[in-house]
Amino acid sequence: MSIHLPQTLNEALHMLQVVPHAQILAGGTDFMVEVNFNKHGVHDVIALRHVDELKKWSHDTVAGVVTIGAAVPYADMEHGELAQLFPALAEAARTVGSPQIRAAGTLGGNLGTCSPAGDALPVLFALNAVINVASTHATRSIPVADFMRGPKRNDLAQDELIVSVTIKTVAGWQGYAKVGTRNAMVISVASASLVLDHVNNSSRIALGSVGPTIIRCIQAEQWLQGVYDFTSHQALDDSIATEFGQRVSQESRPIDDHRSTALYRRHAVGVLAKRLLQRGSAQ
């Protein structure tokens, strides 16, 4: 096996074309764990650490669009301007592993692995993010809901690389919460991200670790739109938050595994939805 170290995005895409079965290495926080568990045979590796184009993010203030490079680490999302633009993403980023992991792990890694427990993924779903991928011969932009195909399955072709994520800024409130059985450094047992869009008077909620993919709760969102005016700044009736939680819970599709039970996950994700709505409406 050999390690390829492209210096530019074009070089990386070219290597992806010519090196068969290459594994992509960015922060390595998923990949190296799998290597340790012998889950990978001996494959060539394309390491992205020198590809600076992937580590940048930009904000088009006119269009209200932010593009985050696939190799931007979580540490860059926790605080500062990105955190102000997308508070939910910042909250999700702060729950990723330890400071060391957050300095290495990337948004592209979460999308590449595409685990339903990926911490940033519910936020990307709730923000209607678009995933930009490229190969030597084409580029594509895929809504995140179409990009994630199943547990650890995505829409990426073998010769494609995740380049960036595009997210529109939203006027309103957004938040994220994650349940784990430890107070830090824990894989999500259930998570949720809620976005309240004050311009369109609508909400979007996406759930992690309670189904084969991230789950958008469309029916609960529509129900909420019918019973609550997000722009009214009126105190939310507790019964609305509770029913929202119950409806979100019903749309989850959790399983039993060694981290938790379906019963608890369904319960927890409802509580998270209720609390997020209460938090969001209190702002």
Binding site: G175, K178, V179, T181, N183, A184, H258, Y264, V271, R275
Partner: protein, 755 residues
């Protein structure tokens, strides 16, 4: 690996001398046993069974041995000596030959030029299994409902305790059934050894991380069919143990590969392999019924305790005895009937872990004490004070408690520690249950307070003479100490020089490498090394001091009994003579070796009667927890504790044990569990076996109760195990107080609180 340390500070007994290995460990320069290399070295690796229970139909190593770089492959038939090993019963095969009895049982080992070559070789070994349905229920093993899974049978040990009047009863009766999950020791320095064969192939040297060099040597020698003096063990740098290094893991495998290849063999486990390579804490189910008077005085205890020993005996028999003899807790009780079973199953083998059977008993008896308090209308503190054991009381085994027993003081001083302030209206989000997940707001949190008090035996029990040996040499004012005491992180390398400085009035103390060129020190377990090896070092130093005094007395023509050490001088208590120890010993060599033996103990008879334990230590814990009752998430806010330490020889070191033990007990209370489904371990990694992080660790407020124990050589009791024992039930009780839930099982899962 080199633990020798020269210290020139005046760090005597009672001071918080710093660890000689502390700086290197923090800086990453300390050499753990996994950091040891040798020229011309090969790597060793182990093939393990994927099945909890299966017959081995055939093993084909022919493809593996053909791989370039593979030097040898060994299986059961290549073991030259005894085919099995074990600490108490030799019932565990070096390699499984006919049957595998737990997931992860070793089947073969390879030696090759690179770990990756080893991995390929393991993958190329073809083992055909006839898979059986595993027997995982200890009750079936006890009742005989399933056929024996081992020639020695399915019952590892049964012990009954019958004491006093079996018909005694009281107006208050409370009972409960409690369950304790399987905890892993989860030391951070993984199993590792380097085996270096002698040139003549008739023996070997091994550098290994272990708790007990001499016991390892004995078992290695038996399995290799070599005399013990052909095997020399040196302690490698040990990154924690907690009981998991008491049993053999890779020692025999590495030795065998070294002798077969004639080359040094390095073996080290990954974290995943470590979960399969060492024993765990016994999962247990315990039923208890207490009879008490209306004012809360315990009249009788009935209990039935079942420990799942897993596939092999390890120390299950001794763990069980600790369980049944500690089920009364630190409380007086005249009448008892207790049945204890350690059962063999196809679960992973269980053995020693910090607390050793008492952790399980304590969760049951402390849960019961709270029930009793409720039934009698007393506070958790009052019910414990009323029943607290005192020195001279008899245990349900008939053994009198001769140790200093400041149980009442432990409770009162813990109670006197101020509670933490109430949560502020807008607490920092990370301080709430759920932590970084930001699941809760202030109004979702309920606070609870709970208690736990425990008694723990020190040293080995039931006639075992676990002596310790030490040698002291004084030359030109410099002391050199030699012992085989495993330094696993407990701090004996700090303590031993402190002893020498106090006894001999020297500044400079050199600790030689721990190895088998001196007599045994016994195991670094059972909270015993300060007492036992401390006693041996103290004894050796005192003998040297006698020789030194005789020499000085002769030179000055006075009675040596008049001499005393004062700081770094020898003084004549009846005259004016004052001479520095360095001067008095100039040009001289005094060397003495001392063995410390604790007082003999007895076996238990068929009614569980006998003076089976050496000594006891006591501790009280009070836990304050914040609970998100709707999500079932917990944050332990504060642990207050007062611990009976006898004498704090190194207060900082004692505090380290207390804080570490509390973190480990907290782990068992709310998160640490090896999860199994039908004998298959589901979480053999730190991704899913959760240890407390800094955000989970509570504020610890500790009071050291110093009442020197006359039986202890230095007045000091072992302090390693007590901190982790009653903190678990204290946290469980605090969760009960916050939620009103029964909480009969640890670890407490979120669903136990909110569903």
């Amino acid at each position: 690996m080199n633990l020798s340390a020269v210290r020139t500070r005046r760090d005597t007994l009672g001071t918080s001398a710093l660890r000689p290995d502390g700086g290197p460990k923090v800086q990453g320069s300390f050499a753990f046993s996994s950091d040891v290399w040798a020229d011309n070295m090969l790597w060793g690796a182990t093939l393990r069974s994927p099945h909890p229970y299966a017959r081995i139909v055939s093993i084909d190593i022919s493809e593996a041995i053909k791989i370039a770089g593979v030097e040898t492959v060994v299986i059961a038939e290549d073991v030259p000596g005894q085919l099995t090993y074990g600490l108490i019963d030799s019932d565990q095969p070096v390699f499984a030959s006919e049957v595998v009895r737990y997931m992860g049982e070793p089947v073969a080992a390879v030696a090759a030029d690179h770990p990756e070559t080893c991995r390929r070789a393991l993958a190329a070994i073809r083992v055909e299994y006839e898979v059986y349905e595993p027997h995982i229920n200890p009750e079936d093993s006890i009742s005989g409902a399933v056929p024996a899974i081992h020639p020695n049978g399915n019952l590892l040990r049964y012990q009954r305790i019958v004491c006093g009047d079996q018909n005694a009863t009281g107006p208050i009766v409370v009972e409960g059934e409690y369950e304790i999950g399987m905890q892993d020791q989860a030391f951070l320095g993984l199993e590792a050894a380097l085996a270096i064969p002698d040139r003549d192939g008739a023996g070997l040297e091994m550098i290994v991380a272990t708790q007990w060099l001499h016991e390892d040597r004995k078992q290695i020698a038996l399995c290799l069919g070599l005399p013990e003096d052909k095997i020399r063990l040196t302690l490698g740098g040990v990154g924690g143990a907690f009981g998991a290094r008491e049993d053999i893991s890779l020692q025999v495998h590495a030795s065998l590969l070294a002798l077969r290849t004639g080359r040094p063999i390095k073996m080290q486990y990954s974290r995943e392999e470590s979960f399969f390579g060492h024993v765990h804490r016994h999962p247990a189910k315990i039923w208890v019924r207490h009879h008490a008077s209306a004012d809360g005085m315990i009249i009788k205890i009935e209990a039935r305790m079942v420990f799942d020993g897993g596939a092999y005996a390890s120390t299950s028999a001794a763990v069980l005895i600790n369980g049944v003899t500690h089920i009364q807790g630190p409380y007086r009780c005249a009448n008892a009937i207790v049945d204890g079973f350690a059962a063999r199953t196809n679960n992973p083998p269980c053995g020693a872990m910090r607390g050793f059977g008492v952790v399980q008993a304590c969760f049951a008896h402390e849960s019961q004490m709270d029930k009793l308090a409720l039934a009698c209308g007393l506070s958790p503190v009052e019910i414990r004070l009323r029943n607290a054991i005192r020195t001279g009381d008899r245990l349900i085994t008939g053994q009198p408690v001769e140790s200093v027993a400041p149980v009442e003081r432990c409770i009162r001083e813990t109670d006197a520690i101020p509670l933490p302030p109430d949560m502020t209206p807008s607490p920092h989000e990370l301080s709430l249950p759920g932590g970084s997940g930001r699941t809760a707001d202030r109004r979702h949190i309920v606070r609870g307070v709970g208690w736990g008090v425990s008694i723990k035996n020190l040293m080995y029990s039931e006639t075992f003479d676990d002596f310790a040996t030490a040698r002291c040499r004084l030359q030109d004012g410099v002391v050199t100490l030699k012992f085989a005491t495993s330094e696993v992180g407990q701090g004996f390398v700090t303590l031993a020089p402190q002893i020498a400085r106090s006894v001999l009035g020297v500044d400079t103390v050199i600790v030689e490498p721990m190895d088998t060129t001196i007599g045994s020190a016994g195991s670094t377990s059972a909270s015993r090394q300060t007492w036992m090896s401390g006693g041996a070092v103290d004894g050796a130093c005192r003998l040297v001091r006698e020789r030194l005094f005789e020499h000085v007395a002769k030179e000055h023509n006075i009675d040596p009994l008049r001499l005393e050490i004062d700081d770094t001088d020898i003084i004549d208590t009846f005259g004016t003579l004052r001479i520095a120890v360095a001067n008095a010993s100039a040009g001289m060599v005094f060397e003495e070796t001392f063995e410390h033996h604790h007082r003999p103990t007895e076996d238990l008879d068929e009614n569980g009667q006998g003076n089976c334990h050496v000594a006891f230590a006591f501790v009280a814990h009070r836990a304050v927890v914040d609970v998100d009752t709707e999500l079932g998430l917990v944050k332990v806010v504060q642990i207050a504790t007062a611990q009976d330490v006898g004498r704090a020889l190194n207060p900082l070191s004692v505090l380290g044990q207390i804080e570490g033990g509390i973190a480990q007990g907290l782990g068992l209370a709310v998160m640490e569990e090896v999860l199994m489904v039908n004998g298959i371990v589901k979480n053999p990694s730190f991704t899913d076996y959760l240890l407390p992080t800094a955000l989970d660790a509570p504020e610890v407020v500790a009071v050291l109760i110093e009442e020197p124990d006359p039986q202890a050589p230095l007045g000091a009791k072992g302090v390693g195990e007590p901190p982790c024992i009653s903190v678990t039930p204290a946290i469980a009780a605090a969760i009960r107080a916050a939620t009103g839930r029964a909480i009969t099982r640890v670890p407490v899962r979120p669903s136990d609180i909110c569903l």
